[in-house]
Symmetry: C2
């Protein structure tokens, strides 16, 4: 156990989740994130555990952190379905409940429509059986983003 890891980071990670290591930028700043892929359906769920660096003034998870996670987890479904990058066009988030320090938060989305590389998704963020956020995302696919050779295969994307 390294001194570089916080108490929460060394806590138990639910079965099937693997850590996603961002090496730079905002993903590294607000991570770490985890993901679990259903080997049959290919569906993927993203997750993170609420730590001190995610907290608001009431010691719960900051709404900005939950929206940032929603943006990532809901958009990621597009990258998994299509060999395509994306930018966010519009995100609507409805806050139904808060996440507390130490909570394990999960999220994913369903692609509702796809036309001319514009994707509309319905997303959900939850903690156990408690829904934290529902919402809608509109993302624009960007075909010019190329992935490193073997990157999709390494992530287990069909």
């Amino acid at each position: 156990m390294s001194d570089d890891l916080t108490e929460v980071q060394t806590a138990i990670v639910p079965d099937g989740f693997v850590i996603n290591l961002w090496n730079r930028g905002f993903g590294r700043t607000v991570g770490p994130f985890y993901s679990r892929r259903d080997t049959v359906t290919g569906d993927e769920v993203m997750a993170f555990r609420v730590e001190e660096h995610h907290a608001n003034g009431m010691n719960n998870c900051h709404g900005g952190m939950l929206m940032s996670f929603a943006d990532m987890a809901w958009g990621r479904v597009i990258s998994n379905k299509r060999e395509i990058g994306w930018v966010t066009v519009r995100l609507t988030t409805d806050f139904l409940s808060g996440a507390h320090m130490g909570d394990w938060v999960e999220g994913t989305s369903d692609v509702i429509t796809e036309q001319d590389d514009v994707f509309t998704v319905r997303g959900r963020i939850w903690c156990g059986d408690r829904t934290l956020i529902t919402g809608t995302g509109i993302y624009k696919g960007i075909r010019s983003i190329s992935r490193k050779a073997g990157e999709r295969e390494a992530r287990g994307v069909a």
Copy 2:
């Protein structure tokens, strides 16, 4: 000039802006933030400069960072108008343009309606004369949040 400061943090801050030092939590993680208050109208603008720890994979500001900033800058107007804390109920953000590394990003909102401590605001985030995000926020006021004596006065709130 301290070694603890990045190159961008030591860069020029526009006239009238003061740094807002969050000591903990998500505000410290994704900061630093700045603000400028109009001494006549009392209106306040929040700001930050895009640094490496805000970046997405294209080396622009991450959409999650811009939404987090929108949540803070648009909700802060409520705290300045009323002796009240708030939680976010719904946020809708329309992304019109991106922010680049080193950009100075500003934002504020107008309170459109207030009823039963539910506030609806129209917000904008911009960089120079370029609008990055417009949107609508719905916030619920929480009266149980008490401020330290003199905190409002120290921030220059009427």
